[in-house]
Symmetry: D3
Subunit: 117 residues, 6 copies
Amino acid sequence: MPNENRLEEFRRYREQMNSRISEANHLGINRFFNLDTAAYHDGALPSKTKELLGLVASTVLRCNDCIDYHLIQCVQAGWSNEELTDALNVALIVGGSIVIPHLRHAVETIDLLRQET
Amino acid sequence: MPNENRLEEFRRYREQMNSRISEANHLGINRFFNLDTAAYHDGALPSKTKELLGLVASTVLRCNDCIDYHLIQCVQAGWSNEELTDALNVALIVGGSIVIPHLRHAVETIDLLRQET
Amino acid sequence: MPNENRLEEFRRYREQMNSRISEANHLGINRFFNLDTAAYHDGALPSKTKELLGLVASTVLRCNDCIDYHLIQCVQAGWSNEELTDALNVALIVGGSIVIPHLRHAVETIDLLRQET
Amino acid sequence: MPNENRLEEFRRYREQMNSRISEANHLGINRFFNLDTAAYHDGALPSKTKELLGLVASTVLRCNDCIDYHLIQCVQAGWSNEELTDALNVALIVGGSIVIPHLRHAVETIDLLRQET
Amino acid sequence: MPNENRLEEFRRYREQMNSRISEANHLGINRFFNLDTAAYHDGALPSKTKELLGLVASTVLRCNDCIDYHLIQCVQAGWSNEELTDALNVALIVGGSIVIPHLRHAVETIDLLRQET
Amino acid sequence: MPNENRLEEFRRYREQMNSRISEANHLGINRFFNLDTAAYHDGALPSKTKELLGLVASTVLRCNDCIDYHLIQCVQAGWSNEELTDALNVALIVGGSIVIPHLRHAVETIDLLRQET
């Protein structure tokens, strides 16, 4: 049974801990976070495409929090369910059945995101 | 010093061993190869976008042969060097410095591919 | 303290989300799921052996859901606790101490499965 | 919201399952656990340094339980928050943004450990 | 084109460097090597089965040297080409297309091993 | 048989391709390279310790080029063979037997580095 609030909890925990990390004032870590944000801004490739790249990278590396973060961005950027599913199929073929639990998680997250709007 | 013939050798070895694998007549393996090919055909997402997804997935998973294969497809699909570099930057941020040796390999492969044409 | 219901919850969530994924009607994904099922059917190797291979692959790749799924199949196929432990030892040696949290999970799952019968 | 008791639960579960694993009397597994413990004892390198190596290895391999275990040891060995953060920065650079969820977890664990004392 | 001597070179290099490592007289490392050898001896599972587990673990973790080592043992233990291929199919399904370059390598190694006898 | 010139070739190729990457003028990539360099400078932890952390991270992630790079730095920083071996033992225990081919490579690199001086 999906936890209806898990996206909200994820957003709150992520924000809270990112602040906590930033307070540690480690120049290298803070710069890395800035670079990470900038990597998905419009460049030679549009931001929308790069969020999809981030989603597939997160899926083959099997990180649910990273999948959720990029799905939030991808839905906001306007990707349809059909397009997201087609991207997740690439991740499934590249990464194999070990990716399936994360595919389940991703599909649940997409459903939760569509319910929010 | 880049080996000028390495792309040609890669293509020949890949084709030769794929035939050898197919001769083993394992239904599951042969079907997987068909699914793998089909995953990059036009669907909800165009083939061109999916090759870029394949490139980034291969880079964060650190597989040089897979990087070379998808770069061949990406160059053929019309992605420019600036766009490929921007996609590789996403892979670098997601995967970290452990990706750098594969970034070197990818940049060399792009150079070799441009020299072929 | 082990959650007594976690195997039941896993089975329910797995079934529910697999249906949800199948409803998306992505030909590639649905074919992959069929290939995945078929890979563990009797072939040159008996199904029983292949479930053990799936267990060890899931353990070195450190995926608890995959471990649980293959343990359910392995117990049903008739592997004893001593044989499962000997297989998990191979996974531990190959994969190192990073595998230990998943070894704990696997041993707990085996206990829960034996309690069910 | 951090679960205040999660370190206590982790310690209890870890101890309980390690006993359960040891009861299986698999010579290979029991010897591996002894080797694992011994690897962090004083040798050519002091134990304190080796716990920091274990922390960084656990972080780039993205295992929260292993991170928690080595943070408990690192705090006990006398590493300061600034030193732990500097080590985690190396893990972040080597492993990339996919490490960030585990960095959040590590920083939360450090806070919980400091509250205990 | 397969290098006809690569198995011989692998065996020589492996033996030479294992001696070199053993000369370092690190108790932990030497004990780990003994544990590694013992993990594939007859136990609750026969050695023959455990070599196949080692092969699949090595393949999903994508280590060519480890694949070669376990294939040498598997062929010596009497596994047929059809059985090895069926085991490699499990590794391919679990690990995905990123495993394919290692599948090529494995199939080439099997051919070289059959030519030796 | 170790290739006596492989460290020299590695250094030349690394420098050449890093220049080539830098010429692409991608701001994100160039900043990542700067962050990567800075991560190993003296901070809360001395540079010498951080190079050892980089070595162990590279070993458990099984990247030979990264291992070579950090070994060059570690030898220059003054770590003895006994200390390096003790650090590699931590990597072996954490990462398991799949690390062994990289342990062989690392030990060979250490020998080559000592011959240079």
